[in-house]
Amino acid sequence: MISKLETKKDEYPRPVEGERQAFMYGNEVVVWAALAAGAECLYGYPITPQNEVMHYWSRLAPDYGGKFLQTEDELSAGFATLGGIMAGARCFSATAGPGTILFQEPLAMAEMMRIPIVLVVQQRGGPSTATVIYSQQEVFLTIFGGNGEGLRIVYSPGSHQEMYDYTLKAFDVAWKHRFPTLVLGDGYQAKMRERVLLYDPAARGMEIEPTVPFVGLPGVPGVDREPAHWRNAFSVEEELYEELEPIINDYYRIAPSLMEKEEGYLDGAELILTGHGIVGRAVRTAVKELREEGFPVGFFRPLTLRPFPGKDLIRILDDCPRLLVVESAQGQLAKLIRISIGGELDHRVQMYPYFRPGLGISAEELVEEAKAILNGKREQKQEKEFSMSML
């Protein structure tokens, strides 16, 4: 019989002591956040632009009792991660592009069985192999990619600091609520280097939900306790429905507490700019710049893409029915927005697309675009383009 869980020993040093300023690459930030959150195993398969998550982890983690395995593909990586989690270890993985596709199979299993997997996705260009660089084209895949209802939590950070904060948080949220939790970065965030403040969550009084094993529990099964019998297959419709309903209800019960967003400069705004992730940052910078120049614009930046903070956006659009949606994809964020607001408003919303699938977007170009809209240079054609992309 197993007397106790062989989790990380206390003799290992804490990965982050107190607080520490650093100038880091994004993939490195992910690794430090995972270590600070007490992550124990990374099972993964290389893919650009997340490779360095594996490089740093495989180098650093052993010093903190962490384990690493490079598997034969993403299916193996994902399912091994589920196995490790069910054994009671805090495991996570990272992937991108075609790897994110293959990860949908284990994510679907996690959704059904409430396995708290944390996955970092560093988006690259798509569809297919496309580019190894950057895009925001994995939004729908990350949220709805499985053969189910997208019962996942998806964070979209926009800076290294948020990458650290939300990766830490992802582990907490995943284990607290038992839904797959994804941190959606991109190739820019992965490969760029900027300031970040690392901190020990404990030193800040943050508690991270402890792990609990699904299998290998203490006691002799069938004698001291019931055996743990976990499954994801059901025979009849009603059986599945009964299994699924409470999961869905749980998800929507906790959803309001999970939604996060940032908004600003809304007072008197005549145009709202919105974007998520690294683009959200360009949006914020552009709005600041525009306000300084006296243009009446505000911004809305969703930090959770799932659940989507749509109620807040509805409130904003109630006052200001003009929205510029900015993304490095062909309207994936726009679709999330339309899902939230569809039929909920008693007036039309003029929506302007700034869709650049696979292309980076700078604050400068947004300043220009916003000015063009405010100056009435972007009406018919743009709106039509927007609606088209929504079919």
Partner: protein
Amino acid sequence: MKSMPDSWRRETKPHKFCPGCGHGLVLKALGMAMDRLKIADRTVFGVDIGCSLLAWDFFNADTIQTHHGRTVPVIIGAKRARPNLVGIAYMGDGGGYAIGSQHLINATMRNDRILIIIVNNTIYAMTGGQMAPTTLKGQKTETSSRGRDPKYEGFPLRGPEMVASFAPEGAYVARGSVSHVQRLARYLERGLENQLQDRGISVVEALSTCPTNWRTNAEDTWKFLEKEMTDYYPVGELVSPFKRDTQKEAADLETCH
């Protein structure tokens, strides 16, 4: 002799396999091995999609029913996270040699300390009897209605032989059959011991029956297993890190059926 191993969960019996299904016998052999080694309390038993999923509540042991072909990585993930667990990955020949063969190959290469059991019934049973990598030459299935033709579909795959060809030091590879339950139990026990001793991977194929998809009565079921299948798939240990105890083996042979 006990009819039901202690590690079987009586509450869930009769089990969910068809009448005459060999899965019951493989799991009996496994139960015997688990009983002997007294490991049910630290076992993680993983079952694949395929008829093996019907064993999700079979044992008095913690069990994870996984996805088709993905039981090997799940069990590896658990075992590497908590090496004191005993990891068993139980699957069909479709799960082991088709959709999950990359995992089998790479787990073997890495010498992962788990026991992989592949139930060879020459067919995709759960989905209603399609061709498997193990379907015999000329054998008719739902997707080889004219009989498996080596020209287009190749010759049946001998999995353990393939695994043995590059099995690393410490690995244990064998093929048993449900027509010799005790010998199969011995192989499974050795596979588990190998894991307990942290030597290497263990891969045991079990020749099994599927009267439902073979559409055979009891007599023909035994015949197909013991003649056709065993002719092509020889039973025995292929790679073993254990010293051969010939006396014990002889004794085995006597009691084995």
